[in-house]
C-alpha cells in the first residue's frame, strides 16, 4: 500500500538555558496545543502519537510517561516512544501511517538539559567498554572531528566561525542565540564557543496526515517524498571523521539526489559538522542552508532534529520552499543520520 504522507503543522517552544519553573509536561503542553490548534484537531482525533526524549538529560526515570499527560493519554491511546531525537519518532509515525493503521499522527519531543551537565551526560551514550570510562565529553569528540577536517584541508577556523555567524544571523523568533555572538575562546581546541551549540531546554511537535486528510488540514502540505536513516560504525577510530557515508546513503534512499533541493535544514550541532554534511550531501550555494539558524542558534536535545523537519515543512507551508531536505543526527560526530525530502504541491 502506498500513501502520500505530509507534515501538516509544526510548533516549537522557545529554547531557554533554564526552564526550572516548569516540569517537562508543563514545558511541552503549550507546544502540543499550538500544533493541534493549527490543524483544528483535538487529541481524541489523533490516530497515533509518538514521542522522543531521553531520561538521562534531566535524570528523571520514565519521564516520557508523565509527559503523556499532556496529550490526554487516558483512556489509553495508540502511542509509542523513542529514546532519541523526535525525528526518529516521526520516522516511526510515518511507517504507522504508511501501514494504513492511522490517518493522522502527533509527533513530539522535548529535552531539559538544564538540570544536568550535558557534556558529561552525553558521555554515557558511548561504548561502555573502551570509550565511556575515559569520559570524553561531547565537545571533545566534535573537536577531534574538526581537527581532522582542518588537517584534510576541508575547512579552517575562519570558515568555521563564518558558519556560526551565518547561522545566528537568522530571524527565527524561537532561536536561543541570535545576531552577532563573539567567537570566544577555545572550548576544546580547535572548537571555540561560537562553534558550539547553545545548551537549552525546549520542545517541538508536528502533525502528520495521509492523503486527502492532509489537504483538509493544511493548505499546502509538506509531502514526505522519502525518509531514511543510517548509522556509522560505532568505533570512532574506524570511521573517516571527515565524511558521513551514512548521511549520504540516507539521502540517496530518501531520493534527495533525484532533483535539487532549494532549502536544507541540517542538524549540525557543531560548525564543523555542517562542513561534513555539505560535503556528504553534495550541497552547493544554490541551496539555502539552515534559514532557521539550525542547531547553532538553538539545540534543544531530542527536539532539534525534529525541529529541522518541522522548519523545512513550515517553509513549504508558507510557500517559501518547493523542495527541501531535512536532516537529523544523534550520537557523537554525526553517528546516526536521518534524511527526509519534503515537497509542496506545484504552485
Amino acid at each position: 500500500m502506498t500513501r502520500d504522507i505530509a507534515v501538516v503543522a509544526f510548533a516549537q517552544s522557545d529554547t531557554l538555558r533554564s526552564s526550572e519553573e516548569v516540569s517537562e509536561v508543563e514545558m511541552l503542553m503549550p507546544v502540543l496545543h499550538d500544533v493541534l490548534a493549527q490543524t483544528g484537531l483535538k487529541t481524541a482525533d489523533i490516530g497515533f502519537t509518538c514521542s522522543g526524549s531521553c531520561d538521562y538529560l534531566a535524570g528523571r526515570a520514565f519521564s516520557f510517561t508523565l509527559a503523556l499527560d499532556g496529550v490526554g493519554a487516558w483512556p489509553p491511546i495508540s502511542e509509542s516512544h523513542v529514546e532519541t531525537d523526535g525525528a526518529w519518532a516521526l520516522y516511526e509515525a510515518w511507517t504507522k501511517l504508511l501501514s494504513g493503521d492511522a490517518d493522522t499522527a502527533l509527533v513530539y519531543s522535548y529535552g531539559k538539559s538544564s538540570p544536568g551537565s550535558l557534556r558529561d551526560v552525553l558521555t554515557r551514550q558511548l561504548d561502555p567498554y573502551y570509550v565511556a570510562p575515559l569520559w570524553p565529553d561531547s565537545v571533545a569528540l566534535a573537536a577531534l572531528q574538526a581537527q581532522a577536517l582542518i588537517d584534510a584541508g576541508d575547512t579552517d577556523e575562519r570558515e568555521l566561525a563564518a558558519i556560526g555567524a551565518r547561522s545566528r544571523a537568522t530571524d527565527n523568533p524561537r532561536a536561543q542565540l541570535k545576531g552577532p555572538v563573539p567567537q570566544g575562546d577555545y572550548v576544546v581546541r580547535p572548537l571555540r564557543t561560537g562553534d558550539c551549540p547553545p545548551i537549552g531546554d525546549g520542545a517541538a511537535a508536528v502533525v502528520l496526515a495521509a492523503g486527502e486528510r492532509a489537504r483538509e488540514l493544511c493548505e499546502r502540505p509538506a509531502w514526505i517524498r522519502g525518509i531514511d536513516h543510517r548509522i556509522e560504525a560505532h568505533s570512532l577510530g574506524v570511521r573517516d571523521l571527515t565524511d558521513s557515508p551514512s548521511a549520504r546513503l540516507a539521502a540517496e534512499r530518501a531520493g534527495a539526489f533525484e532533483r535539487p533541493v532549494d532549502t536544507a535544514e541540517l542538524h549540525a550541532p557543531f560548525s564543523s559538522q555542517e562542513v561534513v554534511l555539505r560535503k556528504a550531501l553534495g550541497l552547493d550555494d544554490a541551496t539555502r542552508v539552515n534559514p532557521s539558524g539550525g542547531a547553532l542558534a538553538a539545540n534543544p536535545m531530542m527536539a532539534a532534529g525534529l525541529a529541522r523537519i518541522g522548519e523545512a515543512a513550515a517553509r513549504i507551508h508558507r510557500g517559501e520552499s518547493d523542495r527541501a531536505l531535512a536532516h537529523a543526527t544523534s550520537g557523537p560526530c554525526l553517528q546516526q543520520n536521518l534524511v527526509a525530502v519534503l515537497e509542496g504541491d506545484p504552485r
Binding site: 516548569v22 516540569s23 528523571r60 561502555p128 575515559l134 577555545y186
Partner: protein, 313 residues
C-alpha cells in the same frame, strides 16, 4: 509564583558488564601490558578490537599483537579536564593508530601544551601502575621519538583472564519539580494537601502533575482537599525495606482524600495491620519537620460506603 524548589539529585550506578572473547583478550592484555588487535577477513587489523566486523558483521576472532607505539591521526586540546577524564591537568584527546593497526584508538596524550601536539606525531603508551583489565590500564599516551614496535601474532591466551568490567557512572543534577508539584510540596510544608482541578472535566488531581491525563490540558485551579480520606485499597508489606525503620508487617494503602478524584498512597498506622479494610476512614499524622505525612491513622468515623469511592479504585 513562589520560588521554584530545587534539590541536588545524584544518579550513580555501577554497571557490571560481561565481555565477549575478543574484548576479554584485549582488556586482559592491557593488564599484562600487551595490546591486541583483531584481523578482519580482508586483512585489516582493528584496534581496539571488536567481536564482529563493522562492515560485514561476520564474527572475527584472529588476534594479533600490535605495537605500544603509534601515530596521532587527529587531536583536540583539552585545557579544562573534566571529572573522570584520564588526566587532571590540560592534555590532548587523541586518536592513535598503533603500529600494526589500521584503525585508531581514543585516549589522552600527556603533552606540555597544544604547540607540542600535531597530527602525525609519534606517541607511545604510558601504562597505569595498577592495572585491572580496563581501558584505563593505559594511563595515557606520551610523545615518543624511537623506532616502530614489533608486531606479532598472539593467541590471546592469558592466565586468569578478565570476563567482565564494572563501569562506574555518576551524574549530578539539580532537580526542579516544576510549577504544580512545587505548589503541592510548599502546601505540604504547611500541613495542607492542595490538588489541582482540570478546567475541562473538573477532576481534582492530588498530587497534581500540572496536566489532566484525560483532557491533555493544564490544571491550574488549586483546591484544598482532605485532611481526612478513605482507604480505597491496600496491601500488607512483609518485607523490610533497606534503610526504612518500620516494623513489618505493615499496611500500605491507596487513600482518596476528601475532595480528590485520584487516590494517593501512604502507610496506615495506629491500627493492627490485619484490621485495615477498604472504606476505612483515615487522617494524616505529621511529624516535626517531616515535610509530608509520616502515615495515616483511623479517624474513628464509620467506614465509607463502597459507592462513595468505587470510582477511585
Amino acid at each position: 509564583m513562589p520560588d521554584v524548589l530545587k534539590a541536588p539529585l545524584v544518579v550513580e550506578f555501577p554497571f557490571t558488564r560481561s565481555l565477549g572473547p575478543v574484548q576479554s583478550a584485549f582488556l586482559t592484555g592491557l593488564r599484562e601490558r600487551v595490546i591486541l588487535g583483531v584481523k578482519t577477513r580482508d586483512g585489516r587489523t582493528l584496534v581496539p578490537p571488536v567481536e564482529y566486523d563493522p562492515v560485514t558483521a561476520e564474527e572475527i576472532r584472529d588476534l594479533v599483537h600490535v605495537g605500544v607505539t603509534g601515530t596521532v591521526t587527529t587531536w583536540a586540546w583539552n585545557h579544562e579536564p573534566r571529572r573522570g577524564q584520564p588526566l587532571d591537568r590540560p592534555f590532548a584527546w587523541v586518536l592513535v593508530k598503533l603500529d600494526g593497526a589500521d584503525t585508531a584508538l581514543l585516549h589522552a596524550l600527556d603533552a606540555p601544551g597544544p604547540d607540542a601536539v600535531r597530527t602525525g606525531m609519534r606517541v607511545r603508551v604510558r601504562w597505569a601502575e595498577e592495572r585491572t583489565g580496563a581501558i584505563t590500564d593505559i594511563a595515557c599516551f606520551e610523545p615518543y621519538d624511537g623506532d616502530d614496535s614489533e608486531v606479532t601474532v598472539h593467541a590471546g591466551e592469558f592466565e586468569d583472564p578478565v570476563h567482565g568490567i564494572v563501569a562506574q557512572a555518576r551524574l549530578d543534577y539539580t532537580y526542579s519539580p516544576g510549577r504544580a508539584q512545587t505548589a503541592y510540596i510548599n502546601a505540604l510544608a504547611e500541613r495542607r494537601a492542595v490538588g489541582e482541578r482540570c478546567p475541562s472535566c473538573r477532576k481534582v488531581y492530588v498530587p497534581p502533575r500540572g496536566a489532566c491525563p484525560t483532557c491533555g490540558v493544564a490544571t491550574v485551579e488549586q483546591v484544598e482537599v482532605g485532611p481526612s480520606g478513605t482507604v480505597t485499597t491496600f496491601c500488607i508489606v512483609n518485607i523490610k525495606a533497606k534503610n526504612l525503620d518500620i516494623e513489618v508487617p505493615y499496611v500500605y494503602a491507596h487513600i482518596a482524600l476528601d475532595g480528590a478524584d485520584l487516590a494517593l498512597h501512604g502507610r496506615i498506622g495506629g491500627i493492627p495491620y490485619d484490621q485495615v479494610r477498604m472504606g476505612l476512614r483515615v487522617e494524616p499524622v505529621w511529624t516535626e519537620g517531616g515535610g509530608y505525612p509520616d502515615h495515616y491513622r483511623p479517624t474513628g468515623e464509620p467506614d465509607a460506603e463502597y459507592d462513595t469511592y468505587k470510582e477511585l479504585l
